[in-house]
Amino acid sequence: MSDIQTEAKKLFPGTVHDTPGGGVMLGALEDVINWARSNSLWPLVFGTSCCAIEMMSTASAKYDFSRFGFEVTRATPRQADLIIISGTIVNKMAPVLKRLYDQMADPKYVIAMGACATSGGPFFYNTYSVVKGADHVIPVDVYVAGCPPRPEALLHAMITLQEKIKAGSKRERINIDGTKIK
């Protein structure tokens, strides 16, 4: 069997059985669904500050993230399943971010890109207007360090998120009224 086929067998969550007239793949449904979700995460167009420039450069030709499945960045949260918080979140922007996150359909994931979204960054001390970390507003899955992080770092974070999804989300998430989401 060629190298590509052995590689494909490792990446796809299931075992391939060669039967005459083609092959049959057997796998757990949960694994197949997670594999499909992680390989087609569509991000929302959300950039507030300088990290947005690095995100745009990750999206364009040199460090393309659409080869990992993040093909289309949607302008509407209703059609997106990933929000990359690139930039500073100020007190005036926090309710807007919460509203966008609420409008996204489950399953949704969040990457906090850069120092400002992680903890307030350079604006942690002595400022009256910056939220000290986007996780005060919405739950975050992956944090990326950097000010701004290089495109390679953002790609590493996106691949980490894909691996987190493929491993099955063991993190408990709860609804607004306190009931658990499966």
Partner: protein, 151 residues
């Protein structure tokens, strides 16, 4: 006009405004009372023709406030900086909205962040802060125990 020519000409026409040495652009320091007439002259006089106010900010030295205007002439190509020293308790200076219209927005910002009152401003609302904000955030003695973490 070159820097030396501008400096010589302004020392002659505006004697009450001493020059600052050094700095990237020539700087004058008029008083707040002399500023309206000087501004009108800087805009309209054919030697100067400063028609572009490209920056209007304030600085909080702990003893006083300074309002800084950056002026440029697009036709003649020279730049000038004007610094006006203001008292901290009642910082008041006349608006230049009728001379350079961009000052409408720039002065609104300086007013909400520093508390400098611009007399006869046509629309003194807050620009970026919410309307119910109390205090002047960019002053050195601003305290905000809810949001600010002090270093």
């Amino acid at each position: 006009m070159t820097r030396e020519d501008l400096q010589a000409s302004l020392t002659e026409r505006a004697p009450g405004a001493p020059f600052d040495e050094g700095g990237q652009w020539p700087t004058i320091n008029p008083s707040a009372e002399a500023w309206p007439e000087l501004a009108r002259m800087l805009r309209e006089d054919p030697l100067y023709r400063f028609d572009y106010l490209f920056c209007l900010t304030a600085v909080d030295w702990k003893t006083h406030l300074t309002v800084v205007y950056h002026l440029r002439s697009l036709s003649l190509g020279h730049t000038l900086v004007v610094k006006i020293k203001l008292d901290r308790t009642t910082p008041r200076v006349r608006t230049v909205c009728n001379i350079w219209r961009t000052a409408e927005l720039l002065e609104r910002e300086v007013r909400e962040l520093f508390g400098v009152e611009f007399l006869e401003h046509p629309d003194p609302r807050n620009l970026i802060l919410p309307d119910v904000w109390e205090g002047f955030p960019l002053r050195k003695d601003y305290e905000d125990p809810v949001n600010m973490i002090k270093l």
